[in-house]
Symmetry: C2
Subunit: 204 residues, 2 copies
């Protein structure tokens, strides 16, 4: 009886994310997590020293997923335009598959309770924006994007668009398909990135 340490650890993290999506971070007690996993409350502490360690592990898991996503994107040798589209789609799919992520990321418990976790989140965001601005700069050099946009500024807007969309989705209880909204987001982004002669083609 009893699963091995690493396996149960993963299970606890996953169930924690599930619970965060359904009940919100406030209801995320060790008792609730234990119930969901199907073990006693005290058993939680065989695998995590403190409750915050669970959150920490969850955030690190999320960071890992997003870093993987970023690496895969930059490994793709497709055009800058397709890289951005790929990034939007994959990002939204990731959030769609694990709805607890936005709830956790947006909760203040993370940022204010432990400075270390806050730094992790900030680092992920910073690296994210760096990659996006690199892609945009490349697109400008290759004459695929207009040359009068500022790459850093546009990258910040890119991330803001994504986060804002996810936030609205979360506030409206995941009640609309977010992948579809991603397409609208891309259309909007493209209308600001596209060189002028190409626009007629894409406006329909």
């Amino acid at each position: 009886m009893g699963k091995p340490h690493e396996e149960r650890k993963e299970e606890i993290i996953k169930k924690t994310l599930e619970l965060a999506a359904e009940e919100g971070v406030t209801r995320l007690t060790t008792q609730a997590i234990a119930d969901r996993v199907g073990i006693a409350q005290s058993t939680i502490f065989k695998h995590f020293k403190t409750r915050d360690a669970i959150f920490s592990a969850a955030i690190n898991w999320i960071s890992g997923q997003i870093f993987r996503l970023l690496e895969e994107t930059s490994r793709e040798s497709t055009s800058p335009r397709e890289q951005l589209q790929y990034l939007i789609n994959r990002h939204l799919t990731l959030m769609s598959r694990h709805r607890g992520l936005p709830r956790l990321l947006f909760s203040d418990r993370l940022h204010l309770e432990s400075p270390h976790l806050k730094k992790t989140v900030q680092q992920v965001m910073a690296r994210y924006m760096t990659l996006v601005s690199d892609i945009i700069r490349e697109g400008i050099e290759e004459d695929q994007f207009r040359n009068d946009v500022d790459p850093e500024e546009t990258a910040r807007c890119f991330v803001a668009l994504l986060q804002g969309l996810i936030l609205r989705w979360s506030i409206f209880d995941f009640s609309f398909p977010i992948e579809k909204e991603g397409e609208a987001l891309w259309r909007f982004l493209w209308s600001s990135l596209a060189p002028h002669q190409e626009e007629d083609r894409d406006s329909l």
Copy 2:
């Protein structure tokens, strides 16, 4: 001794918002609020029946502020373009002046603890997007904006941009001047709304 009911009520709400900005929603206990106001913890309950009633009042206050902002914007008889700029500036100034607002609005305690408050927030967002799409539609009709953008879609992106920016600002602990970022946001938005012949003028 003792301020009149309505006055103290307002004071509690204001101090609650202050605390939310500094300490986060998690630390927002009745004790902390009472300390900040300078009264005993039990006195809080002379003015609010429950702790949630304080949150409720705070959210309603926020909603009021934003509704006022929206009404003022539509009352302005300036061009659609200036209306959008005005809305961005005023919105960011409001958030800048009361940093507790984003913390409260993004906290899950609001949406998940009480369905009523969630509805309030959703209604504000819905009305916000309606107004923005109206402005955009008007701008298209007056040939100030390109005619191949979808007003509703663009309005959703407008709100996402704002929310995303505020979220990043909140995650980075209000460490950069948000009004300045608002200008970048407008530049980005305008590059997607501007008719083509006008662009050369504004690109610098």
